[in-house]
């Protein structure tokens, strides 16, 4: 875990920083690296240490007696696997909806100027000033009526509200970065608008769309409040963990926390190149 941070990097960097200041700089960076990584490391130890590991006293920071058994035990508790599946379903639908709804809107904002453009943009930006998950509260009643209550699909709808503004703004800048002339050239060669979009714009936009999709996934995967409000039996993993939090033993809580963290870490790794472009845009 810390072996990465401990590797001394003494080679001069591109920017010249004098010796003492460089020492200070790297002390600071290693401190922050430890600050970020240690809690993840500790919750992993808790997740794989089992019941005995949790109560061992005093604890050593080195791993001992780790086994996958306690993790498997956790996954075999009634409801956990179903909750995990529900989380995947809700996140999957969220990805689908936010890309399918968001990308066309982003394309419209990027390529056309039309009446009501400002109003639409305002609507998208307005969502940011609101605590959106809280809006799940009144939805309980209408969701019961529509048969959407207590389904992963229903949860994904409110998660899409969280992810959609983001998808619109990011895809807008994505499409703005693809020259219009490419499309016009395709029209000249006899493509319809739709064909031109599919064959010329899509391939160029694909990596950015994938990044948008991954962000939508993470937003849904992590959301606790709305998911807890809108489900009773078909809980997502976050809702399940929140519900059983007070009565479940510590090592199960850590196992749950660890499972929640893993996909996020992998996904942030996958989109790390797009992170700044995406947030630079989305925060305007």
């Amino acid at each position: 875990m810390t072996s990465v941070t401990a590797t001394p990097i003494v080679k001069p960097s591109g920017i010249s920083v004098p010796g003492a200041r460089r020492l200070l700089l790297w002390t600071g960076i290693i401190a922050v690296l430890a600050w970020v990584l240690l809690p993840i490391y500790f919750v992993a130890l808790g997740a794989f240490g089992g019941r005995l590991g949790v109560f061992r006293w005093p604890k050593s920071i080195w791993p001992s007696d780790l086994s996958a058994a306690s993790m498997l035990q956790f996954l075999n508790i009634e409801g956990v696997f179903g909750a995990l599946m529900n989380s995947f379903i809700a996140a999957g639908f969220t990805v689908l909806f936010s890309v399918l709804l968001g990308a066309p809107a982003g394309y419209a904002l990027a390529r056309y100027s039309f009446k009501g453009q400002t109003a639409f943009r305002l609507l998208v930006l307005l969502t940011r000033a609101f605590p959106l998950a809280i809006l799940a509260l009144p939805l309980t009643v209408s969701f019961i009526r529509l048969g959407l209550y207590d389904t992963a699909f229903g949860v994904s709808l409110i998660h899409t509200v969280l992810a959609l503004p983001f998808a619109v703004l990011v895809t807008q800048s994505l499409f703005m970065g693809i020259p219009r002339e490419y499309e016009e050239a395709a029209w000249v060669f006899g493509c319809t608008r739709f064909q031109a979009f599919l064959r010329v714009v899509m391939p160029l936009a694909l990596p950015g769309l994938a990044a948008t999709a991954i962000f939508a996934f993470v937003i849904s995967w992590n959301e606790v409040f709305a998911a807890s409000i809108l489900t009773v039996r078909e809980r997502t993993l976050t809702a399940y963990l929140l519900k059983v939090l007070s009565e479940s033993p510590l090592h199960y809580r850590f196992a749950g926390g660890f499972i929640l963290i893993i996909p996020s870490v992998l996904f942030i790794f996958a989109v790390r190149r797009y992170l700044f472009a995406v947030w630079g845009i989305a925060s305007k």
């Binding site: 700089l25 500790f42 919750v43 604890k59 000033a129 605590p131 809280i134 409000i229 790390r272």
Partner: protein, 283 residues
């Protein structure tokens, strides 16, 4: 664009407009309406019940205190981290990745990760015991230790949500032309002066959006508090959750929701005014 294609953009935005209308505007109106329709038939009945609740003033105080401590800490830490990264040459990508990992971690998972450290037989107590600072297991997260519980929640929140501020700040730093700082250096400005007079003012738009985003989310704080302190530390969103799911009183829950929204909007307006960005000040 040719005029005959006028309907196309509308067709493209229509699905999002319908969706946001149905699942953002409608519930927004519903929440407000629900909060003003109480069982006893009075307009403010739900609000009266909310304000009369034992936990209400505690939840208000806790939520505000958390926001006032956490958000400035996050902004300061994020600026510090961003400036450190800007000095690094080799290994920059790896460091940046690690720094941004918490971006993808949920508040619930963050609470659980810090629970592993702060629980009675956890790593903090083990370290303190090893150093001889405590005699045995000490509780930090109980009702009897509100100060350390508060600090624990602050730590978990700063740990989790600083990354998002960091990303916004780094994206903002990239927009500042290097020439400005170089020119100032030629004229003899010290690093601290350059930071205060050039970097910080030009970073204002980014800081504004980071502050709005974080403050709105901070008033929604809930799961991290619940994971660390259970019901020992009431916050506004937690009260809304309790009234809805445990007391089954949707009216009072809606009143809490309206209160949280009102505070969020007030905070947004405040930031937009105080940190107003004049176009002529931008590079």
């Amino acid at each position: 664009m040719p005029t005959r294609a006028n309907w196309i953009p509308y067709a493209l935005i229509a699905p999002s407009v319908v969706f946001l209308g149905a699942l953002f505007i409608v519930p927004l109106v519903q929440t407000i309406w629900l909060s003003f329709s109480s069982d006893d038939g009075t307009l403010l009945g739900n609000y009266a019940r909310m304000a009369g609740d034992l936990n209400f003033s505690v939840a208000i105080r806790n939520t505000f205190m958390l926001t006032l401590v956490v958000v400035p800490l996050q902004v300061a830490l994020a600026i510090g981290m961003a400036l450190m990264i800007s000095k690094v040459g080799k290994g920059r990508d790896l460091i940046l990745w690690v720094f941004t990992i918490p971006l993808g971690i949920s508040d619930l998972a963050a609470g659980l990760a810090w629970l592993a450290i702060l629980q009675n037989s956890g790593y903090l107590n083990s370290a303190l015991y090893g150093l001889g600072l405590i005699q045995g297991q000490t509780g930090w997260l109980s009702q009897e230790t509100p100060v350390t519980l508060f600090i624990g929640i602050v730590l978990a929140e700063v740990w989790r949500a600083t990354a998002i501020v960091l990303v916004i700040v780094i994206a903002g730093l990239q927009l500042i032309p290097k020439e400005f700082s170089e020119a100032a250096e030629i004229f003899g400005a010290k690093p601290w002066t350059r930071f205060c007079k050039i970097t910080l003012p030009l970073l204002k738009p980014s800081l504004q959006s980071a502050l709005i985003l974080r403050t709105v989310l901070a008033f929604e704080v809930f799961a991290v508090v619940y994971a660390l302190g259970g019901t020992n530390f009431p916050v506004l969103a937690g009260e809304a959750y309790n009234w809805q799911n445990i007391n089954q009183n949707y009216g009072v829950a809606a009143a809490y929701a309206v209160l949280i929204m009102a505070i969020s909007i007030a905070a947004t307006v405040f930031y937009l005014r105080v940190l107003r960005v004049r176009p002529e000040q931008l590079p």
